[in-house]
Amino acid sequence: MNEAPARKAARTVASGEKTTTDAAAIVAAAPMAAFRADFDRQPEAPDWVRALRERGMARFQALGFPTMKNEDWHFTSVAPIAERVFRAASVSASGVSSEGSTAGMVANADLERFTFAQPKWHRLVFVNGEFAADLSSFAGLGDSVRVSSLARAIRSGTGRPERHLGKIAAFDQHSFTALNTAFIRDGAFIEIQPEAVLTEPIHLVFVSEGHGESVSHPRNLVVAARHSRATVIESYVSIRDSIYFTNAVTEISLGEGAHLDHYKVQRESESAFHVGTIQVRQARNSELRSFSFAVGGALARTNIYTSLDGEASTCTLNGLYLADGKQHIDNQTSIEHIAPNCPSHEVYKGVLDGRSHGVFNGKVYVHPEAQKTDGKQSNNNLLLSPSARVDTKPQLEIFADDVKCTHGATVGRLDDMAMFYLNSRGIGADRARVLLTYAFAADVLETIELEPLKKQLEEMVLARFAGPT
């Protein structure tokens, strides 16, 4: 790929992290009134949940939506979300009853194209943010893992979600997480017992059924005890092209030696808005392998934050984002190296076509105690049209002195020489373009360990590049 001069800002700074709270970021009256009304209308909940929601709401009101003056949102304007009145999905449109029946709004057949044809995978389906028991199946999980909807766990107190909920995903500086916290209600609660090894993945499917301009705030909690091993997939999908807003938060706690493969598949409607934060804390010797695949949304932002708290914990954060038309797809990752001897690896790739806009911001923060850190990060982007744009900002902040960290970013276009090489072998321009674009994306997809998922994402990517035939 040609390396073109990119809009990229790489820095290595030695100052404390600063997050600006912009005083001007007040939420407009109408959206705020809607949030407030829906907040007040939430069903009864135990005191600890009510207190947590109150804190979330208070923080959201104080922070407002972030503006582009906020360093974390420098390349993404959330005005299209901030200026719209979204009503809580459960109030405005959802037919999900408290028993978790979808009342025929979404049928199993609607989900087929999102479930990767894997009947053996355990599946929890959420419609507009609420658990849909009749679409879910996870009976075969056994005793080594406890899975339920968060709503049920909150009601029954089983598994004591309060030990972790709201304690991993910080919301003092993150508006969207604060807003999600204000509306904590449902999502998946997964507790993996010590030394349990799950043979089949757990697939969380968040379906927006898309009537009215609604918002859902899925909240997930994954607690993986010591030396357990599991795979969790989060899919965000929609059964029709419509305007809605998904504001999801997943908190993950990895115990000593725990291993989690986490996949996020963001396939929202192309008119939809999506903000999703996955925040992880890792104990000693734990391993997180994360892959984030993003193709949907008019405006979509995924945050993947992990904190390597324990010595010799490791993380791999990989991702692929594909945008076309007027889509805006933003990815932010943060790796906090707190403890020594932790390797972290990160490869994100983006393919931007049409008038789309891609953003990558990858922070690697090495604390003073985190000696022998081995961090590698790269972000490569391919622009397929002259109007597509990407902003990439790898960000390395190092406070320890015995570390090995590299980072790099590229922005390029299809290589003319490679195009001519293919043409000269009889392969026409359209086909050659597909081949080269696919090849660019393929090596990061290759890192997906879950074979059926890899295969189907590969097919999806190939079909997308080939366009309608």
Binding site: N423, S424, R425, G426, L435
Partner: protein
């Protein structure tokens, strides 16, 4: 088969070819020689259809067709093959996939059935031997991490699989050690038939020890300044190009 008539071409405002006239018949091997900057590689690229070059004057007829109005892929589908001087690396695309795509595109253009991966594998096995290439190479990305010799062998391998009617070898000998040179040359010789023609573009005579040309043309300043039989190559080897440069300026 190929008739080039008063061909002028260049990049942007820069004229490189200034009136090339050349006729190639089936079964013939032509060597185009000349010093650096004489326009040899430009001629090869223009014939293959590189879009960066503009033809400003002249005609090229290939099997009765106006070659210049065809896109590069159509030329390839009609049997023209360029072995690149600098083969391009394509990360993420395996040789097997790349070459099968090319093979099938050419078949499709001829109205023939495409072959599946297994059939294709059978078909290429023989051709791999021709250039002494290991089958494991097929699953590697095109030219990525290849040595200079491997890249050139890969070009000849592709040529063997695609079996062109007119092959243009652009500096295929450059950067090859003597063993690789011999392998490449043997490969080319085995592919010679009375129906095919080959144009060998080269700076040095040594490849012509192995592939004996029927005609040798010397290019200088974008024109053919001298043509002759195979003995002309030996004379160039001995005397260099300087004695011919004046001829180019005068013509």
């Amino acid at each position: 088969m190929l008739e080039i008539n008063d061909l002028h071409a260049g990049i942007g405002d820069k004229a490189i070819l200034r009136g090339i006239t050349l006729r190639v018949n089936p079964g013939e091997v032509h060597a185009v020689m000349g010093p650096n900057g004489s326009g040899k590689s430009t001629l090869a690229q223009v014939l293959a259809g590189h879009p960066a070059y503009q033809v400003t004057k002249g005609t090229v007829t290939y099997n009765g067709q106006n070659l210049l109005e065809l896109d590069a892929e159509v030329r390839a589908q009609n049997g023209i093959f360029l072995a690149f001087q600098y083969p391009v690396e394509i990360p993420g695309v395996s040789i097997a996939y790349f070459l099968r795509s090319a093979y099938n595109e050419i078949r499709k253009a001829k109205g023939m059935e495409e072959v599946d991966p297994l059939e294709f594998l059978d078909l290429v096995e023989e051709k791999l031997k021709l250039v002494d290439m290991d089958q494991a190479l097929l699953s590697r990305s095109v030219n990525q991490g290849f040595s200079g010799g491997e890249k050139k062998r890969n070009e000849i391998f592709q040529m063997a699989v695609l079996s062109p009617r007119l092959a243009i070898l652009d500096e295929t000998d450059s950067g090859l050690d003597i063993d690789a040179l011999r392998i490449v040359a043997e490969g080319v010789n085995k592919l010679r038939t009375p129906e095919n023609a080959t144009i060998i573009v080269t700076h040095y005579q040594r490849l012509l020890n192995y592939i004996v040309p029927d005609f040798v043309h010397v290019l200088s300043g974008g024109r053919i300044v001298k043509s002759g039989g195979k003995e002309l190559a030996l004379e160039l080897e001995e005397r260099g190009y300087d004695w011919l440069q004046g001829a180019g300026a005068a013509a």
